[in-house]
């Protein structure tokens, strides 16, 4: 089971700050994961925006980077402001 974290406005859209998910065998990199989560969790394209960065096990990675079922994967919109 992969652990998925949603930060900032993404947590409001999803309704929770995290979930555990069984990644389908076809999802092996961040680009595919981004699209799959966006479509299956009702993000309606928000996750596809390039400003949403992905961290795998606490490291920001570029698309496409490998992901596996044991990773912690964070979707992070732009930080800061105020």
């Amino acid at each position: 089971m992969a652990r998925i974290l949603y930060f900032g406005k993404l947590s409001s859209i999803f309704g929770e700050m995290s979930e555990t998910a069984d990644l389908p065998a076809s999802i092996s990199d961040t680009a595919a994961l981004r699209t799959w989560i966006d479509q299956t969790r009702g993000f309606d394209g928000v996750l596809l925006h390039p400003s949403v960065r992905i961290a795998v096990n606490n490291e920001i990675v570029p698309d496409p980077s490998p992901v596996s079922d044991t990773d912690e994967i964070a979707f992070m919109p732009p930080v800061g402001g105020g």
Binding site: L5, F7, G8, K9, S11, S12, M17, A55, N58, A74, M76, P77, P78, V79, G80, G81, G82
Partner: protein, 165 residues
């Protein structure tokens, strides 16, 4: 980025309760050896939003590990860039009321210029790169606060300027 070892004493911390400035500054004074200048900055929760509405609470969400790492990295790079003796960065997470301190930056150095510049640099980096997501609550409900172009421009000044000594 500059990541060379520095002789400065660097402290970066994520706080979940009120930041006690006086005590933090006293810690810094005790850690800094032979300094001649100390500059401190407090970022404080404003009582009104940018839209002019009253604010009840400011809430900062953080990543369980990456937020602390971002504070440590910014503090370390500030210490490496300027000729300073010691610095302290303390950043709040969680819910805050107007008047509470969000962030405390304090820098001790031999001469004042480096301390002023380092504190300014640290704040510009913190505003744009520290891993926090901010939302505000009030009579209007709740809304997320987006990063601003102004903050990005402030941050980019340091890409051109030389180190101050």
């Amino acid at each position: 980025m500059n990541d060379i070892p520095t002789g400065a004493v660097v402290c970066a911390e994520l706080a979940f309760t009120s930041i006690e400035s006086a005590a933090r500054l006293q810690e810094l004074r005790q850690r800094a050896m032979g300094y001649g200048a100390l500059v401190s900055f407090e970022g404080v929760v404003r009582p009104v939003t940018k839209q002019g509405e009253p604010l009840d609470r400011l809430i900062l969400d953080h990543h369980p590990r990456m937020t602390v790492s971002s504070l440590e990295r910014i503090a370390r790079e500030g210490a490496a860039r300027f000729d300073i003796c010691a610095l302290s960065v303390v950043h709040r997470a969680g819910a805050m009321a107007p008047g509470e301190i969000i962030v405390l930056v304090a820098v001790a150095s031999d001469h004042r210029r480096a301390a002023f510049q380092c504190a300014d640099y640290l704040m510009d980096r913190l505003k744009t790169e520290a891993v926090f997501w901010k939302r505000e609550q009030g009579p209007f409900g709740e809304r997320w606060i987006e990063p601003t172009q102004r903050d990005t421009e402030d941050r980019e000044r340091w890409n051109e300027e030389k180190t101050g000594h």
